[in-house]
Amino acid sequence: MSQTDAAAMEMHSATGLPNRKILMWAFIGSECMLFGSLIIVYMVYRGKSLVGPYPADLLNIPFITVTTFVLLMSSLMMVLALSAVQRGDMKWGKIWLFMTALLGMVFLGGQVYEFSHFVHEGLTLKTNLFGGSFFLLTGTHGAHVAVGVIWLMSLVFMAQRGRLTQANAETVEIAGLYWHFVDVVWIVLFTLIYLLV
């Protein structure tokens, strides 16, 4: 919509930067406070659960290391997708975009598996403070991943229909910013939740 936007209003850009990219960066700034607040809740309640299961009983480091790696690699796919689209190579652009979404789905699958495993082991939202703060923090992140996957798949779909071209590189770039930020959040969560048990 940005092209029509700019054309329709003959928009003047004081900084020479695209509106939507400024919007995304400002939004990411806001998201820092959102995840910051959620991390505050998790860290403040760390070790405050009165009954188990406790983090050390459940967290599976090797497993989550694999999904973390998957998410990191999805970020690589994302930059490759952007660079392909910027070159006008829509074939590879589409493939990398799809790979990004696919790895995102793998990550989500891992999270679904992890959650159901925890529930099976007796940890739910209601069990203790760890349950509530863990599911809320990782669940909020998972929801962000899910939104990203839908977004990326829409781009793949648009590319398939030929509605995403080199001229829309900015659209891909903005989706990429979002995706990388979600990855960055996970880098922090991986350390705080899993490694600093």
Partner: protein, 101 residues
Amino acid sequence: MTQPHEHAEHAHPSNRTYILVAAILGVITAVEVGVFYLDALKPVLVPILLALSAAKFTMVVGFFMHLKFDSKLYRALFVGPLVVAIAVMMAMFLLYGVFSA
């Protein structure tokens, strides 16, 4: 009267750089997990892990999100709230004694 877009994002790194960064990210993750299992490092585990995590964070933001190469405005939009968020988190951790636990 659209101004010519001064392409601040012209200096995009190459795909090779991206792959190299991703490889480093993977290696750091492996090191993190390795450190986690090394009993000898238990006393310094927290600072090491935080430093490694911060390194990964910076690399993704700097290279994948192009913040290293892009307009300073984006950096300000991101780093400003990030600093406030970290400051608030630190204050809360101090108030709740998270560090001493």
